[in-house]
Amino acid sequence: MLQFKQVEKYYGKHLALSIPTLDVQKGLYWVQGENGSGKTTLLKMVAGLHPFKGEIYRDQINIKKERTLFLRGVNYAEAEPLYPTFLTAKDLVTLYCGTRKVATTKALEQLEQLHISHAYQQEIGTYSSGMIKKLSLVLAFIGNPSWIMLDEPLITMDVAAVDTVSNWINQLVEQAQVSFLITSHQLFQTPLNFTGNIQVANQSLSYAEL
C-alpha cells in the first residue's frame, strides 16, 4: 500500500500538489488529469526524484527514513526519458540489474520482445525516441518491485510495442501482484484491468474505484 501524509510539493512559491492524506491499496491505477495538473510530479515524488514536504510510505516504509529500502520496491519510467548519449543499453541494464540485484536475462528477453536487442551495445545517442522509450520501460520492469510508475508509457511507441507492454502489465498484476500507477492521455488498445482511477486536479488528488 502507498500512503501519503501531509504531502505538499512546491515549485518555488507555487503549490503544485497537496495530498493531506491518501491511502492507495495495491492494484493497477490510471492517473488522469490535464497537462500540468501534477501527474508527473506525483509519480516523481514516489520514485524519489522530487523532494517534497510530508511523508510517503510504501508498506509502512518511509521514503525519507529508509530511502534505499523504499526504492528497492519502486520502479519508474519517465514520459520523456533522458540518458547520457554515450551510454549503451548494456551499460544501463547492467546498472539497473546490479542495483536491483537480479540477473540481466529477463531484461534481455524484454528488449528482444520490443525489437531493440540489436542495439544493445550501441550508444543511446544513435537511438530513436521510440527506442529510448522502449529501453526506459524495460528498465522500469527490472527486479522485483511492488510498485511500478509509468509516465505516459504509450507515447512514441509503435502499436506492437504498446501491446507487448500492456501484456507485461497485466501479467505482473495478475501473477506477481505488482501494483502500477500509470499516467496516460491515450487509451490502451489491449485492455488493462484497472483497479481504479486517480484524478489529479486543482493541486489535489481524488480516488475513484472502477
Binding site: 512546491y10 515549485y11 518555488g12 512559491k13 507555487h14 503544485a16 500540468g36 520514485a47 524519489g48 526524484l49 522530487h50 523532494p51 530511502r67 534505499t68 529500502l69 526504492l71 528497492r72 519502486v74 520502479n75 519508474y76 519517465e78 526519458p81 533522458l82 540518458y83 547520457p84 548519449t85 554515450f86 551510454l87 549503451t88 548494456k90 551499460d91 547492467t94 546498472l95 539497473y96 542495483t99 536491483r100
Partner: protein, 375 residues
C-alpha cells in the same frame, strides 16, 4: 553599438571569467604568490629574460599561449553554440568584417592576460636588444588572435558546422561503463578541451615545480601547496561534473543505492580524475616527499573536490558564490598546510562534505523562486 558591446561583454566575456575563476586563481598563485612582494618585479624580469634568451623556453611559452588560445576558443565557441545564445545569430546581418571586428572585441578581452604579459615581454625584449624574440612573440600572438577571431566568425556564420576543434572520438569500448565513471565519460565526450587543457596546465605546473624547486630538507608542505593549486585549477571541472549529474543523471536518484555508497562513488570518481597528477608526482620522489607523505596527497585530492562537489547540493549556487567558497577554502587550507594541520582540516572537510551530501542530495532541485512554476 553600445548595446551590442554590452550584450557580448555580458554573455561571452563575463561568463568566461566567471567560469574560469579557479583556473585564474591557480595562475595568480603561480605567477604572484610564489615570491615575496619586493622581489616580484625582479622575479618576472628574470623569468622574461630567461625565455627571451632561449629558443626552447620561448617555444614552451608560446606553446602555453597557444593552449590558452584553444581554451578561449573552446569556451567562446561552446557558448555561441548554446541554444539560449541563438539570438546572437542576428549578428549575421552584419558584414563578415564587422563580425570579425566584434569577435576581436571579445577575444581581446578574454585573451587579455596573455597579450598584456606578451606586450610587457616585447618591451623587455626590445630594451635588451632581443629584437628577434620580440618579433616572434608579436607574430605568434597576432596569429593566435587572428585564428581565434576566424573561428568565432566561422562559428557564427555556419553555426558551428565548420568547427573542428578537438572533435576526435574515442574508439568504442567493449567493457561496461561503471556508474561512478559516467561524469568522466561526459567530460571526455563533451568537455574534451577543458579536460585536456586543465590536465596539460597542471602537469606542466607540476613539472616546473619539481624541476625548479629544490628543498633544503625533506618537507611535504610545498608539494601540498602545489596540489592545493592543482585541485583549485579543477574547480570548473567539478562544477561541470555537478551540472552533468543534475542534468543527465537524475534517473540515478530513483535507484536503490545507499548514501555511503553514492558518496564513496563520488570520491572514487575524483581519485580517477587526479590519477595523472598522482602518478606524475612520483617524479619528485624522494627529494620532495617520502612515501609516508603520499597518502596525505591522495587524501587531499579525494577530500577537496568531494567537498567542492558536495557544497553544490546545498542550494543552486551562483558561480560567484561557489568561487567565493573555493577561495576561502583555499586560503584556510594554505595556512593549515603551513602549520602542518592539513590532515585534521581535511578530515573535518570530508565529514562536512558527507553531511552536506547526506542531507541535501535528494533535496536539491533547481531554483524555481523567480519562475512561479516548473522550469
Amino acid at each position: 553599438m553600445k548595446n551590442k558591446a554590452m550584450i557580448l561583454q555580458k554573455v561571452l566575456v563575463n561568463y568566461f571569467y566567471r567560469m574560469n575563476a579557479g583556473f585564474f586563481a591557480f595562475f595568480f598563485f603561480v605567477l604572484f604568490g610564489v615570491v615575496k612582494g619586493g622581489q616580484l618585479i625582479n622575479y618576472h624580469l628574470s623569468l622574461m629574460q630567461a625565455f627571451l634568451g632561449s629558443g626552447i623556453l620561448l617555444s614552451i611559452v608560446i606553446g602555453i599561449w597557444g593552449l590558452y588560445t584553444l581554451k578561449c576558443a573552446n569556451y567562446i565557441i561552446r557558448r555561441l553554440l548554446e541554444p539560449q545564445q541563438l539570438f546572437l545569430s542576428t549578428l549575421n546581418q552584419l558584414s563578415t568584417n564587422k563580425i570579425r571586428g566584434w569577435m576581436l572585441f571579445i577575444h581581446v578581452q578574454v585573451y587579455a592576460p596573455v597579450w598584456i604579459y606578451a606586450c610587457i615581454a616585447i618591451g623587455v625584449a626590445i630594451h635588451n636588444g632581443l629584437y628577434q624574440s620580440a618579433f616572434i612573440i608579436l607574430i605568434a600572438n597576432s596569429a593566435f588572435m587572428a585564428l581565434a577571431v576566424e573561428w568565432y566568425t566561422s562559428c557564427l556564420r555556419n553555426h558551428g558546422s565548420k568547427i573542428i576543434l578537438m572533435q576526435w572520438e574515442l574508439p568504442k569500448v567493449p567493457f561496461i561503463k561503471l556508474a561512478f565513471s559516467y561524469p568522466l565519460w561526459h567530460l571526455w565526450k563533451e568537455r574534451k578541451q577543458m579536460m585536456v587543457l586543465t590536465k596539460l596546465f597542471t602537469l606542466v605546473f607540476l613539472y616546473g615545480f619539481i624541476q625548479l624547486y629544490e628543498p633544503y630538507r625533506p618537507d611535504q608542505r610545498p608539494l601540498l601547496l602545489c596540489f592545493l593549486l592543482i585541485v583549485a585549477a579543477h574547480s570548473t571541472i567539478i562544477t561541470q561534473i555537478r551540472t552533468f549529474e543534475y542534468d543527465s543523471l537524475l534517473f540515478m536518484r530513483s535507484l536503490p543505492i545507499s548514501m555511503p555508497n553514492r558518496f564513496l562513488k563520488m570520491m572514487l570518481l575524483y581519485l580517477i580524475l587526479f590519477i595523472p597528477e598522482l602518478i606524475y608526482v612520483w617524479k619528485a620522489y624522494p627529494i620532495h616527499f617520502s612515501w609516508i607523505d603520499y597518502p596525505q596527497l591522495v587524501w587531499m585530492v579525494l577530500v577537496i573536490p568531494s567537498f567542492f562537489h558536495s557544497i553544490q547540493y546545498t542550494h543552486q549556487m551562483k558561480p560567484e558564490e561557489y568561487l567565493n567558497i573555493v577561495f576561502v577554502v583555499m586560503a584556510v587550507l594554505f595556512f593549515m598546510i603551513i602549520y602542518s594541520l592539513t590532515f585534521w582540516l581535511l578530515s573535518l572537510m570530508i565529514l562536512l562534505a558527507y553531511v552536506f551530501f547526506h542531507f541535501h542530495f535528494f533535496e536539491f532541485e533547481k531554483n524555481y523562486q523567480n519562475k512561479g512554476g516548473k522550469a
